[in-house]
Amino acid sequence: MTESGWAEAARTGDADAYGRLVMAYAVVARRVAYSFLRNWDEAEDVIQDASLAGWQAIERFDPARSFRPWFLRIVANAALDQLRRRRVRDAEPLHESLPSRGRLPDADAGRVVLREKIDAAMAELPERQRVAVMMFDGEGYSHAEVASVLQVPEGTVRSYVFHARRALRKALATLVEEPA
C-alpha cells in the first residue's frame, strides 16, 4: 500500500495504518524535536504527544498530500509548546554541557571532537536556525517543506539556513586552527 493509502485508512480510523505512518518518520521527527529542545528525553516525550495529537487530527489530513510535513508540523508545534513550558518553568535557559572528553583511540578521537564541536555550535544557534539547517542540510528537505513546518516564508528559511551555516563554519574553522 502507498503512503496515501495508509493515510486514507488512518483517516477512516485505522490505528494500525496511522502507526505505520508515524513509525516511518519517527527517527527524523525525533531529530527535529531535538533540534528545538536540545534534550533527547524531552524530544521523545514530544514525539509521543505529537503522535497522539496527530491521531486526533488525522481526520482533517488530506491524503493527497505528503504525511511527512504534516506530521513534522505537529511535532514542531509540540516542541515549541514544550519550549514555552520550559521557559516558564526555568528562569535560566538550559544549555547542555559538553560531554567530558576521555582518552580515545586516535581514529575515533577526531570524529568525536568534530561531533562535539558541531553539537556545541548547534546549541548556540537560535532554535529556528538550528531546525532549518538540520532539516535542509541534514535531512534534505526543501526550503518550502521547512517553511511549511516552521510556518514562516521560504525567504525566512533561506535566511535561517544562511546564518546557521555561517555560524557552524565559523565553529569548525576554530577546530582546524586549534588541532586537538
Partner: protein
C-alpha cells in the same frame, strides 16, 4: 562545505556532520516505546463528538431560556386576564338584571338564566 551560504542545494558535508551529531541515544528503545504508544491509541473523537461536547450545554441553555420566556409570557397573559375590563365585565345575563329599574321579576330572572347559558 565550499558552497555558497545562500545555495539552493543542501550542503552534504555539513549535513552529514549534523546528522552524525544528532543521532540520539538508543533509537531502538525510542522506537519500541513509540510503537507501544501507537499500539494503544485512544478512541478518536470525531468532529461530531467535538461538536456535541459544546452543543449539549448550548441546548440546555436554549431550553432554559425558552422555558423562562414561556413562563414570562404565561404570567403576563394571566396578569392581563386579571385586569382586562373585557374579561371582568359582567356577562349579558347579569347586565339584564342590572339594567332593570325595579327588582327583577320571575320572567327577567328566567331570561337572565337563559342568556347565561
Amino acid at each position: 562545505m565550499e558552497q555558497m551560504p545562500f545555495g539552493n542545494e543542501p550542503d552534504r558535508e555539513l549535513g552529514s556532520l549534523i546528522r552524525d551529531a544528532n543521532q540520539g541515544p538508543d533509537p531502538d528503545r525510542f522506537l519500541a516505546r513509540l510503537n507501544g504508544t501507537l499500539g494503544t491509541l485512544p478512541a478518536r473523537a470525531s468532529q461530531w463528538d467535538v461538536l456535541a461536547t459544546w452543543a449539549r450545554p448550548s441546548v440546555v441553555a436554549a431550553a432554559a431560556a425558552a422555558a423562562f420566556l414561556l413562563g414570562v409570557a404565561l404570567w403576563q397573559s394571566w396578569q392581563r386576564g386579571a385586569t382586562d375590563p373585557a374579561l371582568v365585565a359582567p356577562s349579558v345575563s347579569v347586565a339584564i338584571l342590572d339594567a332593570a329599574a325595579t327588582p327583577p321579576g320571575e320572567t327577567q330572572i328566567l331570561y337572565a338564566v337563559l342568556e347565561g347559558r
